[in-house]
């Protein structure tokens, strides 16, 4: 944290990562930025992983190949990456369709194979030790617009060896090759970490309800206990504090509207400290 630079040495990457910079408030640090990005607030941080395999560009949100950086992989565009070193990139989705029944495979028209893709971050975590080396990547043989369940015997596949990119910059000075606490420049170009966010960002505050990032975009504020054992409080997005939570079903008489946010987000969105919303600014 700030003022803690005594511990900063060239090799202490953890110290460099946690360093905030003199005079910088905590909200400048990545520990204040959410990463369960769907799509995200500060960044759509999923975009940082799109080029983790050298030569191809993947979708930030699933295993679809959207582009290439090496001619030889041109034909992979539109295909899906099913497995890396035999480990699947997505799993079967199951759950009940009737009360009291056991889980069934949840197929839909958009996803006949009931596929849930597992976010990149936790997949790439397993490849951290493989940076700079080749891994076996199983792709669909054909282009595949719909998601495919890895291991489906009816789907023809092809296996290629691709290199896992070095995720962090290296200091090559003086013949040394040392890792820095700095995500590689080649992973994302300017603008790419925010390109998948809402346009404008205010849409997110309107549409993505609170089950994403309550610590950044609160939901339930001014909460007090009621005698019936249930809490009382306000929806952060409701126009007036009434002590009675208004469900955000986009009724713009009682909740803030898109236009309120586009026009005057700074005055209608209020900070919450100690669980209590600040009074409307004058």
């Amino acid at each position: 944290m700030s003022g803690d630079d005594a511990k900063i040495t060239p090799r202490n990457l953890a110290a460099q990562l946690s360093y905030r910079g003199r005079g910088n408030p905590p909200v400048t640090h990545p520990s204040s930025a959410i990463s369960n990005c769907f799509p995200g607030l500060e960044f759509d941080f999923r975009a940082i992983w799109r080029r983790f395999l050298v030569g191809i560009v993947l979708s930030e949100n699933n295993n679809y190949v959207v582009g290439y950086e090496d001619e030889k992989y041109k034909d992979l565009v539109g295909h899906r990456l099913l497995k890396i070193n035999d480990r699947p990139m997505s799993v079967l989705t199951q759950g009940p369709v009737m009360p009291g029944r056991g889980p069934a495979t949840l197929s839909t028209g958009d996803s006949p194979e009931a596929v849930s893709f597992m976010e990149w971050s936790n997949t790439i975590a397993l490849l951290v030790g493989r940076q700079g080396t080749k891994v076996r990547c199983e792709f669909t043989k054909e282009a595949a617009k719909l998601e495919v369940l890895p291991g489906n015997p009816d789907v023809a596949t092809q296996t290629l060896e691709l290199e896992v990119r070095q995720l962090f910059e290296r200091d090559e000075a003086d013949g040394a090759s040392e890792r820095l606490a700095l995500l590689a420049e080649s992973l994302a170009k300017p603008g790419e970490l925010s390109q998948g966010l809402c346009s404008p960002w205010q849409n997110d505050y309107r549409e993505c309800a609170c089950y994403y990032w309550a610590a950044s975009r609160p939901d339930y504020v001014n909460v007090v206990p009621g005698g019936d054992g249930l809490s009382r409080g306000d929806n952060w997005m409701q126009r007036e504090n009434t002590g009675s939570y208004i469900v955000d079903n986009r009724d713009f008489q009682s909740s803030l509207s898109y236009d309120d946010l586009f026009k005057s987000w700074e005055s209608v969105l209020r900070f919450v400290v100690g669980g209590i919303q600040e009074p409307p600014p004058k």
């Binding site: 007090v224 206990p225 005698g227 009434t242 002590g243 100690g274």
Partner: protein, 479 residues
């Protein structure tokens, strides 16, 4: 089991079961009713009352088993465990505590059936050590050893042992379980067999004896099981392990009640051959798996040096008990007993009928407080295990699990809240004692005090008034 109950048992069965050398004797006692004319209940009983009586015994046994397993599970660990065994010991602990959780589910299910029969909850049990003709073996709080494991295995064993247990191994287990006194270890399954027969028989219990309207106040799996269950085996992928879920079943019909009792009986024992081969399904198999790897005497110590049947300061310890003499540990032992009582009070409260105050709406508060107390008990037990038992300092203190003077339950919702507040107040006095607040675990004590203060404030609202505070601003914390 209250001593006064024993006379009913004595009148039921002619033999003094525990003294018998035959492992089948308890079967005879429980099926003893069969020897009598089957159309008449035992003397002084109706069939309904007899069913309630047996359920009360079952509740007491499940309760006692749960506590014993908790004690045994918590005893695992400590700095003396060689590093190469860390993983195994952590896993054993998880398995035993997982079984304790399942016993809690059994206890809740038995209470549900009791409520279904329109009888009051049965939360009472004797302090340790204690014995009864219907108990599988004399109950005791003991650290986990091969001998205690052997007792657990025999208690939960199926009628026919699986093939992979050799004659020699079974002999060893039975010998260890019987102990130096060569006592007989009863099987829990027999009790349930009798209950299932009784509850399932319309000629003994008419459908009009049942109270399906108690269904909403019965405990449910949804409230108890949460994400636990299969995961208790440390599995990382859903569906790859066969360990049963924590079982909490409710009864709204005769068939439900029979199914619930059957399921409890089966979760303990390995009911069939397939289950008997599977290390992850029954309690029997899980205990057996640990037994096979558990260090023999002198190899290495898997557990902390905790005594059997520790008791908090107070009356001199009776035979088989160990007094906690260290001042700080003694206070924490008192804290433990209060929190244990709080847990039982929340449990009782969660089963009480919805009153005018609309208990159902507060059900969440009560049940989450109950789960909260389970976490607190675990935490206080952990504190105790780091404090000495007495001046000698070789042994560590441990959780006393002593029963409160009374389990008379309050009659109204407000009275329940007043009881909870009283217990919090009593606990505060202990936590503010300088032995604790200047002791090694002062930070934890301070945090617990702060947690309790918040809880008291809310509870006063529930206990005191029907008035609901509706203000949108409350005073800022720390201001």
């Amino acid at each position: 089991m209250r001593a006064r109950n024993e006379r009913y048992l004595a009148s039921l069965f002619s033999a003094a079961p525990r003294l018998s050398a035959s492992p089948r004797v308890e079967m005879m006692m429980l099926t003893g009713a069969k020897l009598a004319p089957s159309d008449a209940p035992p003397p002084e009983f109706t069939w309904r009352e007899f069913a309630v009586f047996l359920l009360t015994v079952a509740a007491e046994i499940e309760h006692s088993l749960m506590v014993q397993y908790l004690y045994a599970g918590w005893s695992l660990g400590g700095p003396q465990v060689p590093e190469e065994h860390h993983e195994a010991v952590a896993k054993w602990r998880q398995i035993i505590l997982g079984i304790a959780k399942e016993e809690m589910g059994h206890l809740a299910t038995v209470q549900n059936v009791i409520r279904f029969l329109g009888a009051p909850l049965a939360l009472d049990r004797e302090d340790y050590p204690w014995d009864s003709v219907l108990a599988p073996y004399p109950f005791a709080l003991e650290r986990l050893t091969r001998a205690t494991l052997a007792k657990y295995i025999v208690t939960e064993s199926p009628e026919t042992w699986p093939d992979d247990v050799s004659v020699a191994e079974r002999k060893e287990i039975e010998k260890l379980a019987a102990g130096p006194d060569k006592m007989n270890v009863n099987r829990v399954g027999a009790l349930y067999k009798k209950l299932i027969e009784l509850v399932g028989d319309p000629s003994k219990l008419a459908s009009s004896e049942f109270h399906p309207e108690s269904y909403p106040t019965q405990s449910s799996w949804d409230e108890y099981a949460r994400g636990y269950g299969k995961g208790a085996r440390g599995s990382s992928v859903a569906g790859t392990t066969k360990t049963p879920d924590v079982l909490v079943m409710r009864a709204a019909s005769r068939a439900d009640a029979v199914a619930a009792l059957t399921a409890i009986a089966e979760q303990g024992e390995a009911p069939n051959k397939a289950a008997a081969q599977d290390d992850e399904s029954s309690h029997f198999r899980r205990f057996l798996a640990i037994f096979r790897h558990f260090p023999k005497d002198g190899e290495w110590e898997a557990t902390l040096p905790v005594p059997s049947n520790p008791v908090a300061p107070g009356l001199p310890a009776t035979e088989g008990q160990a007094q906690i003499e260290d001042a700080e540990a003694g206070k924490w032992a008192n804290v433990f007993n209060i929190r244990y009582r709080m847990l039982l009070s929340y449990l009782a409260h969660s089963h009480s009928s919805p009153g005018e105050g609309g208990l159902t709406r507060r059900q969440g508060i009560v049940i989450n407080r109950m789960f909260g107390e389970m976490y607190t008990l675990r935490a206080v037990a952990s504190v105790l295990s780091r404090l000495p038992l007495n001046v000698a300092g070789e042994q560590k203190a441990a959780a006393p699990f002593q029963m409160p003077y009374s389990l008379q339950l309050p009659e109204s919702d407000a009275a329940f809240w007043r009881l909870h507040i009283d217990l919090l107040t009593a606990c505060r006095a202990l936590l503010e004692d300088k032995v604790i607040c200047k002791g090694e675990h002062a930070e934890y004590a301070a945090t617990l005090l702060s947690l309790d203060a918040k809880a008291s404030e809310e509870m006063r609202l529930y206990a005191g008034a029907s008035t609901v505070r509706t203000g949108v601003r409350r005073s800022k914390e720390g201001a």
